[in-house]
Amino acid sequence: MTATTTQSTLLRRAWALPQAKIGLALTVVVVGVAVLGPWVGPWLTGHDTTSFAGKPFQSGGIAGTDGLGRDVFTRFLSGGLTLLIYAVLATALGLVLGAVLGMLAGYSGGWLDSLIMRGSDVLLSFPQLVFALLAIAMIGPEGWLLVLVIGITHAPRVARVARQATVAVKDADFIRAARMYAMPRRRILLREVLPNITGPLMVELGLRLTYSIGYVASLSFLGLGIQPPTADWGLMINENRIALVVEPWGVLLPVLAIAVLTVGTNLITDSLASAAAGTSQSGKPQTAKEASA
């Protein structure tokens, strides 16, 4: 069984499930808004994200104005891109770091395994958000720090999965063969192990992306993520919630967008998990997110 077939089988199986189609549709809608919004917004409303459309918290325009009198709808359209970029970067960092560490630990065993796994135990004893808050308290709310800290907290969680999957394949015949031909460890891991653990890693990818979106948005909502005057969904909710009773759109639009996006990615993840559970024939239904805290 070659790598490409594993992957395409997994994707085909996942695509056969209804939740995959719904999830993809939801995700595409929100990603579309986030990516096109910054270009379409000013053209559509005649305002840009930081210009003033009226007095604070008035009802002019499509969705009224925010606490500084800026147009809420324009800011909503522009508010998803940064969030999305940060979430994708953090996910990529966490996945790569976690996969490398997990494969190393699982394949090498011994003291390296112990070192990596005990090290990740320490990181795992902080709730992800609390660890991020600790870092932000010390260094300040910088964009690179958000990506770095969320990526780092993903890594041990991904590493656990990658390690388990690696342990399961490391004594397979083709890997023994590669070892026998004295193939260097790096090449074995990249060429032989990695392609055979893509299933669990794909599930992790979806899961970590869902969480990354949640964490970046949560930190911005707490006022400790993306900083003003950037238009950002999480930050908008924070800025506008004081006027929820008079001008609810500044809160409702970003909340809806984040909800639809995370539900979408989670549905895709769930379909991938179901498909992966099917291919691995473990017989046990895998729920997407249990024990992932």
């Binding site: 003033f52 007095k55 604070p56 606490g67 003003p228 009773v245 609810p248 409702l252």
Partner: protein
């Protein structure tokens, strides 16, 4: 979704009704001092009795009852009601006499004599003596533990008694406006044997209980010198740190009055018929501060350009939702010497661009340090950033927390903000515009300006002093490092049955926390 729309429409209608009712009420409120109002507001002579519960912003575990080192708003609210200084600035920012009934300078303005008011007693019934006043200033100026009131009394050398009703203040340099320095809430008169465990003063209320960070309960002082006052039996001051908690407490009638309503919510509260908004024009300002000794702000053309870039009306509208007045890069608007004859600076992008080009600073790129030091500060920075774009000036915002802002680099930031309450010109200049001022954010050290201010400080003749101060202001207006874009209204709110609160110019909330004049209908 249709439900939401329905609800919004409903609240908007309610808001329209509310503001219509208020449109008639506001001028009336300011004219008659809020003693009466439309609808259910109490009328007639003040009634005695009752408990007033006030939600006050801020405070924490370091809360204190110390008369001479109040820091936060709750501290200030407490000292304003427990203690009284010799003189104080009243609601119109005029000098009013409290423990003293007279305060006069000598001809050379080096000695000031205060005559104590007859019949002023401490909470325990003892009369105030000149020895108590001397002891009070000894406590404030204690070299081992100077209190916050001491910083502005650097010219005070010695306080002595004179007879059984007078006190003399001997200064080490002439000061024509010493009364201003004495008129501070942090200079309350206390007995010679003052003990913080038994916080005795001459204020309208005396302390009954106090828990730092939470609340304090004061009761009526039966010995208070103003006849009939205070009207209330009891005053409870409750700390609130969060805006919406404070507002919700008011809406739920858990408190009778709150200070500091976020300006964006004024309309929401106005739409509630049970509430009254108390909006006061003040001399409080939130300037941008440019260091005149650091590039690019050491070039006066850059400073002038940035002052021309700013759209002051828009600042007032976006940052303060209209609750403020436009500034002219000058402070102390209530000083009789305020240079109102200087032309109002308005936005002029072409001129700003020209000045920048002349200075070789087209496409200027600067960093503005901002922090939530006061409601509206971070917002003002954002609006400025936006406005500066029009002149090709790129402003990068560096948002720090308040602790960092006032930390190591405070007074060192090249371009930042600050926050000041109402002051008259000379006290303000002494605090922030002279080379030896404690808070000279802009490092302003203009020899001509310094000479004018120092001379004015020694000049007892009002006309001559005014002339000097107007010259000094002309210099600041022309080449100073401050961008004073506006003066912020103080907006508070109270239940309709609370009477006696009037607009106050000092910048302190809720009529300067003067609860001795408040009564319940």
């Amino acid at each position: 979704m249709s439900l939401d729309n329905h609800d919004t429409r409903f609240s908007r209608r309610k808001f329209l009704l509310g503001s219509a009712a208020l449109a008639g009420a506001v001028p009336f409120l300011s004219a008659c001092g809020g003693r009466s109002d439309a609808a259910a507001a109490p009328t007639g002579p003040p009634k005695r009795g009752g408990t007033l519960r006030v939600g006050v912003t801020g405070g924490g575990a370091s809360d204190t009852l110390d008369p001479h080192s109040p820091v936060t708003n709750p501290d200030i609210a407490r000292v304003r009601n427990l203690y009284e200084p010799l003189v104080y600035r009243d609601h119109d920012f005029e000098v009013s006499y409290l423990v003293a009934e007279k305060l006069e300078p000598s001809a050379d303005a080096r000695t000031w004599t205060a005559t104590l008011r007859e019949g002023v007693r401490f909470h325990d019934g003892r009369p105030v003596t000149p020895a108590d006043v001397v002891a009070t200033f000894r406590r404030v100026m204690d070299p081992d533990d100077p209190k916050s009131g001491a910083t502005s009394l650097s010219m005070l050398e010695k306080v002595t008694t004179k007879g059984d009703r007078q006190v003399e203040f001997h200064l080490n340099e002439p000061s024509a406006v010493f009364a201003d320095y004495l008129g501070q809430y942090s200079l309350g008169i206390v007995p010679a044997d003052f003990d913080l465990e038994n916080p005795v003063g001459t204020g309208p209320f005396r302390a009954a209980s106090f828990t730092a960070g939470l609340q304090s309960r004061f009761v009526r002082n039966p010995h208070y010198w103003r006849p009939g006052r205070p009207y209330l039996d009891e005053l409870v001051l409750i700390n609130f740190t969060e805006d919406d908690a404070r507002i919700n407490a008011l809406l739920a009638s858990q408190v009778d009055a709150i200070d500091q309503v976020p300006v964006s919510l004024v309309e929401v509260l106005r739409s509630d018929e049970r509430m009254r908004i108390l909006s006061s024009e003040t001399g409080t300002w939130l300037p941008f501060t440019m260091r005149v000794d650091r590039p690019p702000f050491d070039d006066v053309r850059v400073r002038q350009a940035l002052r021309l870039v700013i759209d002051r009306e828009q600042m007032i509208n976006q940052v303060l939702a209209g609750q403020g007045r436009v500034g002219n890069d000058l402070y102390a608007p209530f000083d009789p010497a305020y240079a109102s004859e200087l032309p109002q600076r308005t936005r002029n992008i072409a001129e700003a661009r020209r000045l920048l080009a002349e200075a070789g600073k087209s496409n200027l790129d600067i960093e503005l340090v901002t922090a939530p030091i006061q409601a509206g500060a971070v917002e003002a920075a954002q609006v400025f950033q936006q406005q500066a774009k029009a002149a090709g000036v790129n402003v990068r915002l560096r948002r720090v927390d308040t602790t960092t802002f006032y930390g190591d680099n405070y007074l060192k930031w090249d371009f930042a903000q600050d926050f000041w309450y109402t002051r008259n010109y000379l006290p303000q200049a002494a605090n922030g515009s002279l080379p030896d001022s404690p808070y000279n954010e802009t490092h302003w050290d203009d020899p001509e300006f310094v000479r004018l201010v120092r001379t004015a400080n020694r000049t007892s003749d009002t006309g001559e002093r005014t002339r000097l101060l107007k010259q000094a202001q002309r210099i600041e207006h022309e080449r100073g490092g401050l961008i004073v874009w506006g003066f912020v209204n103080q907006v508070d709110a109270h239940q309709v049955y609370v009477a006696g609160l009037v607009p106050d110019r000092t910048g302190l909330p809720l009529s300067g926390y003067s609860f001795g004049q408040v009564w319940l209908g």
